[in-house]
Symmetry: C2
Subunit: 295 residues, 2 copies
């Protein structure tokens, strides 16, 4: 058996987590799985993963623990709660939170982990469900260099563009940068396409010509065609994007940064959720723009 | 002599126009040049272009006339003024305005051109000074199909992604879409990088990891590194971008479209110009963000 293979525990096997965990399994790592809705683990169990009935059970057996869960409060509970993984993992374990969560919480987890001689990384990702499926995620990492080096071969099974951005919390900060850029970009994409349709242009033709110019980007080129088609199925859900923007705004307030684009985008996503579209794709923002009476 | 070669008159040989006209010359088209600051034509004259002392002189000799000038008022004068090209060009001439200008003016020029049996296209571009230099522009065209087909071989000497979007004015509308997407995107890029620097991250490393994720795009990837470096030399000037945004907002008001991202971006660029940065690159918006007291 390849001595580089470590027993990995994966907590949270939703759309993204399932694909990511699958790559670890394919590479030969023994994989333990826990997720809140047990049926979401079935596919991985069929492929040879082993089910754990709680994070504690998983933590006791894994050499590396990866979490990809919902909200910061979930992350806090899974790591720091009474039945949290830090209290039950062996010293020498590495824990990697790949959830998009708060930088402050990531720093707190790393500090607590240190007490137990556990190495902790925050390593949120960008690249969406397709990046996860194709193991082409970008991974923004915070933590100490030694833990990063040790975890890197595992991260490389899930992503292609991986960078250590600084100490614990820096991965989450990097992800906030990513979401801040994306937030205003999404307004731009919606507004450009609304203009195109209202002016009577063929929006698909406009998208084609724009795709190689100054406006070009991942959101224009991937969400734009879906907006025009009226396909708002989630790759990435609006309610998760609003969560990210809320974390970002909290950090900006703390740093006393004035971010007019981000603030405007958060207002629009808040309305989108109020209108019941939180579980649609985050590009459903276009529907709000189409209904010009609502904001 | 290749019978497909037509005598082309080029009005406006600034940063973009000079490169674009050069490609026509290299392809063998006899080239006539007029530009307001005569010294800006020197390079083309050295390459074999012929100088005309006025738009009228140029219009009388050219089979195809291309304009790449500053503001809609300049376009209006050059096309529709007493010494404008429509009054002096032969019937059968094709005129192509590649300036970013107003859709309404483009439609008016096309209507007037028709009276003289002149074919008119509005064909603004995106891709910047580098796209112009490398003949890789995207060209957004409005006009009738016959004129488009006749002009296409000439447009193909300057661009690689060319589309007829609809009747006269549609090219300008398409360009407005492009600028509307770009406007909010620029806010996002500035805000993301401001966050990165304030949070103490290595901004270049963050840019590297973001370059393959959901935030990735032409502006992040090309202007982002310049912002971090503090290099605000113009490829594309802030005052020209504000001109474009002003045209776009005028059209949005006419169509009764609520565009919060665009409105916010225009506010910021207005402040940027008030602070004397109109002739810097349009990514100098980042300087406004760095100085958080000013907006």
């Amino acid at each position: 058996m390849n001595t580089n293979l470590r027993t990995i525990g994966f907590i949270g096997t939703g759309i993204m987590g399932k694909s990511m965990a699958g790559h670890l399994l394919k590479a030969g790592h023994p994989l333990l799985v826990y997720t809140r809705s047990a049926n979401k683990a079935n596919e991985l169990l069929d492929q040879g993963a082993k089910w754990c009935s709680s994070p504690v059970e998983l933590a006791k057996q894994a050499q590396v623990i990866i979490t990809m869960i919902g909200y910061p409060k979930d992350v806090e509970e899974v790591y720091l709660g009474e039945n949290g993984i830090l209290k039950h993992a062996a010293s020498g374990t590495i824990v990697i939170d790949m959830t998009t969560s708060s930088p402050e919480l990531a720093a707190r987890i790393a500090l607590e982990a240190k007490k137990y001689q556990i190495g902790a990384l925050d390593a949120p990702v960008t690249g969406g469900d397709i990046g996860a499926r194709d193991a082409k995620l970008s991974i923004l990492v915070g933590g100490d260099a030694a833990t990063y080096e040790s975890a890197l071969p595992i991260l490389q099974l899930m992503g292609i563009n991986i960078g250590l951005l600084g100490p614990a919390g820096s991965g989450q900060h990097g992800k906030m940068c990513n979401q801040i850029v994306t937030a205003s970009t999404m307004m731009g994409v919606c507004e450009g396409l609304l203009y195109a349709q209202t002016a009577g242009l063929d929006a698909n033709q406009v998208l084609k010509v724009m795709s190689s110019g100054a406006a070009s980007g991942v959101q224009l080129n991937t969400q734009g065609p879906k907006m025009v088609k009226g396909d708002f199925a989630p790759g990435f859900m609006a309610e998760h994007f609003l969560k990210d923007l809320s974390i970002a705004i909290g950090e900006c307030e703390r740093m006393k940064l004035h971010m007019p684009g981000l603030i405007q985008a958060k207002k629009l996503y808040t309305i989108l959720l109020e209108q019941g579209m939180g579980r649609e794709g985050f590009h459903a923002l276009f529907k709000l723009y189409l209904n010009q009476q609502t904001h």
